[in-house]
């Protein structure tokens, strides 16, 4: 090990050493630029005096007042719950539809293959646009229901192709032949052989879908009008960006107002953390899956 290292070190010329040093410095800077704001937000959410925080990360006085303030707000709770429901239901539907499309398309003996594939590919480059899609959702009577969130995007062609590529390359054709000899039907084969063998790709694609459900706000904003149905992201938008929520009872007392501003500020940081919590917790586990998913997609691309 040490031997190999010294060998390599000798081989590095002066210009290579310059390159590697610059390389290291750039990456270190990048690391700081990306990590520092994330850490800052995290610590700010626990800080009693955000406005006096400056550059230092560790708070002088720890406090949970930001978290207390947001949990008093009832729409946070309903939003959280709605987001969980939309994400779970949406992801299940996504996976079902995607499997139903990807599996037949991975079968070489399936005659409709080319046609269905073209049907899918076209939707990658053309779409009806915002208004015609909205009108369809409206005419189907889906407005203001969970279905308007989970159905219009029930399948992404990209994810479908990723899954199809996996079925295509990872499930040996001999398995199907022997199963057919034993009189195993297509659906049975899919359920008891293909899917158990495809857990990695189901995880990858499921995660792609779940994260996009959790993070999306636009569809909910246009299809839902009832506040109690809003997912978390829409509630967040109200509080964080349009400042609709105002915890101040307009007070003339300047000191009280400053206190309020402080509180509002902390609250925003706490909200950011709370909203990102599920993804934050899962992130170390899912990140290698995402990487894998992109690589499988790249084989096709």
């Amino acid at each position: 090990m040490a031997n190999a290292k010294t060998k390599r070190a000798i081989r590095h010329t002066f210009s290579d050493r310059v390159f590697l040093t610059v390389d290291f410095i750039i990456l270190l800077l990048l690391l700081i630029i990306i990590a520092y704001p994330l850490l800052y937000i995290f610590f700010a959410s626990f800080n009693a005096q955000v406005t006096k925080m400056g550059l230092s990360l560790i708070p002088e006085k720890w406090s949970l007042q930001g978290y207390n303030a947001i949990f008093e707000y009832k729409y946070i709770w309903s939003g959280y719950w709605n987001s969980i429901v939309y994400t779970i239901v949406g992801t299940i539907i996504n996976l079902l539809v995607t499997i139903c499309c990807a599996y037949p398309l991975s079968r070489k003996d399936f005659k409709g293959r080319g046609f269905v594939m073209v049907l899918c590919m076209i939707t990658m480059y053309f779409n009806g646009g915002l208004i015609p899609t909205y009108l369809v959702v409206k005419d189907l009577g889906l407005l203001n229901s969970i279905w308007s969130i989970v159905l219009p995007g029930a399948m992404s062609t990209y994810n479908m192709i990723v899954m199809r590529t996996y079925f295509d390359t990872q499930i040996p054709a001999e398995l199907l032949e022997s199963a057919q000899l034993d009189g195993c039907g297509n659906i049975n084969f899919l359920r008891s052989i293909v899917l158990p063998l495809s857990v990695p790709i189901l995880a990858v694609v499921g995660l792609f879908y779940a994260v996009s459900h959790w993070n999306s706000y636009f569809n909910a904003m246009i299809y839902l009008t009832d506040r109690s149905q809003y997912p978390l992201q829409v509630i967040l938008r109200e509080i964080l960006i349009t400042n609709t929520l105002d915890p101040t009872e307009t007070s003339t007392d300047i000191i009280a107002q400053q206190g309020m501003e402080e509180r509002k500020n902390v609250m925003k940081y706490s909200l950011i953390i709370v909203a990102s919590l599920p993804v934050l917790i899962l992130y170390p586990f899912i990140q290698r899956y995402f990487v894998k998913g992109i690589m499988i997609g790249a084989i096709k691309g």
């Binding site: 210009s15 390389d23 550059l55 990102s276 690589m295």
Partner: protein
């Protein structure tokens, strides 16, 4: 590939279709679900695009509404906002496109770093912002750039500068949009190039090292040519969406002070079509269609050029 029904009688072709469906009926059943989905939520809206050429009245439906030809397209092109919207859209997307090589640079830098642990850490951290939602991302931007309490302004005043009201200055809008996008996306976008670089044959590098090639030379003569097909594909895809910028983020970053430079086509479509008290369905569909057509033309053109120039293309 069994016998293909060439010019047999119609009945036998029908029979073979029947036999095929009978044999694999369950596959057809499965595929029916996504096909129905595509028809309802993708193809019916495409059919609905015709309201761009009609005066759509909800009570009469798409079919019953009268044709008006290109009236709404004319209305858009002659609108006093037309040029500013087009200019804003192009500014944002071309500026974003210009930062496209950064993720390739990151991939190359990561590829040569000899410390494995450090490399993994940079990857882990730099992918993370990708998973932040648009709403949260924009609120982070607003918090950090806040005039009184923001981190950036703290830095500026600490070095004796004047606090800047970033979100209120319209000349800042594009920089904020694009560079926050780089911050969020650079790591994740680099994954695909890291994968491509991992596929470069090590023998090429060994031979080059034997010949005394420096890292810079190897990057230039081995790595870049090797990953060029991937780069081209990604580039073509980006060009195909030049006219549709990340409207979800732009929309959230808009305020009264920057609206002049931040109104892009998609946010305009949304506002015209869904938020006004008298929704202009036909008009905003026409605007949306106008943009889709330009996108498709761009995609086909860039794809054609790329095919000629480097042999890699989407189809």
């Amino acid at each position: 590939m069994k016998e293909k029904p060439k010019k047999k009688k119609g009945r036998s072709m029908l029979q073979s279709v029947q036999r095929e469906v009978y044999k694999n009926w369950s596959l057809y059943l499965l595929v029916a679900i996504p096909v129905i989905y595509l028809i309802v939520f993708k193809y019916i809206p495409m059919y609905g695009v015709q309201i761009a050429f009609k005066r759509y009245q909800p009570v009469r439906g798409i079919e019953g509404s009268p044709w008006v030809g290109l009236e709404y397209f004319e209305q858009f092109i002659t609108n006093h906002k037309f040029w500013s919207i087009i200019r804003n859209t192009l500014c944002i997307s071309l500026y974003s496109l210009a930062t496209f090589p950064l993720s390739i640079v990151l991939a190359i830098l990561l590829n040569y770093i000899p410390f494995r642990r450090f490399q993994k850490t940079v990857q882990l951290i730099s992918y993370a912002p990708h998973f932040i939602s648009t709403v949260v991302m924009v609120s982070i931007i607003l918090q950090f750039l806040d005039t009184r309490n923001g981190l950036i302004n703290f830095l500026i005043t600490a070095f004796g500068g004047e606090a800047i009201n970033f979100m209120g200055r319209k000349e800042m809008f594009y920089h904020i949009y694009v560079w926050s996008g780089v911050w969020q996306g650079i790591g994740y976008a680099s994954i695909i190039y890291i994968a491509a670089l991992a596929g470069v044959s090590p023998e090429l590098h060994e031979a080059a090292i034997m010949d005394g090639a420096t890292i810079m030379k190897r990057v230039w003569h081995i790595d870049i040519p090797s990953i060029l097909p991937t780069v081209m594909i990604m580039f073509i895809m980006q060009c195909g969406s030049v006219m549709s910028v990340g409207y979800e983020k732009v929309f959230l970053m808009q305020n009264d002070m920057n609206l002049q430079v931040s109104e892009v086509i998609d946010t305009y479509v949304y506002k015209q079509g869904l938020t006004s008290s008298m929704p202009k369905y036909s008009y905003s569909t026409a605007v949306g269609l106008f943009v889709s057509v330009i996108n498709v033309i761009l995609l086909v053109t860039v794809n054609g050029i790329a095919k000629k120039a480097s042999g890699s293309s989407l189809w």
